[in-house]
Amino acid sequence: MSLTSIFSIAGSALQAQSQRMNVSASNLANADSAVGPDGQPYRARQVVFQVDPPAGQPYGREIGGVRVAGVVLDPSPLKRIYDPAHPLADGQGYVTMPNVDTVAETVNMIAASRSYQANVEVLNTAKQLMMKTLTLGQS
């Protein structure tokens, strides 16, 4: 319970937001991957955030950082596009494509980077405060 724990709180947020950006980047990169390692089209992934309070805090007063509870597959249906010339087209000429929503992923990416920046700012402020506290009474 001190300024040093701000480092772990903001640090955990940086880690979680960068993982969110990673997942978003993977979704965007694979927006057109009609076949993955398992032979199926790529499915979009989303991170789930969860509060991560350090142990030993009184009940009802827990505060803490954030962690990624898991990466879940997007359950929305896969897109089907008509392209008879595609090598993976089925009998009717349809190809099953990933369910990545590129616009939503781009927005997600921007939101993650803004949250990342906010936490970097928190970290910088905490560092400045600690430096000032360390030089208390000098000069």
């Binding site: 319970m1 001190s2 300024l3 724990s5 701000i6 709180i9 903001a10 955990s12 947020a13 937001q17 969110r20 789930v48 955030f49 969860q50 509060v51 009184p58 009802g60 007063r61 505060i63 803490g64 950082g65 954030v66 939101a111 993650a112 949250s115 906010a118 936490n119 700012e121 928190v122 402020t125 905490a126 405060l129 000032k132 506290t133 208390l136 009474g137 000069s139």
Partner: protein, 135 residues
Amino acid sequence: MLDRLNEDFRFYQQAIALRAQRQEVLSSNIANADTPQYKARDFDFQAAMRDALDARLRLPDTHLSLTSARHIPGQAVTPDPVALQYRLPYQPSVDGNTVDMDAERVRFADNTLHYQSSLQLLSGRIRSMMSAIQE
């Protein structure tokens, strides 16, 4: 004599400690700005400061003495001066999160400023004490 010094610095020490704690709570809010079902927390600095300085309110923690293995343990603890509360949501999101990033950042900056001014005041106090000692 050292007692007096201690008493003199206690106010600022308490203020800085509470400011640091509030800073932590606010940073937790900012860190969890995207966590579903997270509710923003904060506490009233003025009330916490008043409770912390008013020593009469703090009683020593009491335990029931147990004389048999079948007794139920009980204890009475005076609550901490800091009472964490939930912020009233101004524009809550659909996922149950009540963190308003702009408001949190404003409060964070405000708290930073107050922390620094408390440090500055304490610094001045130490300086005047030093000059009093050296004269």
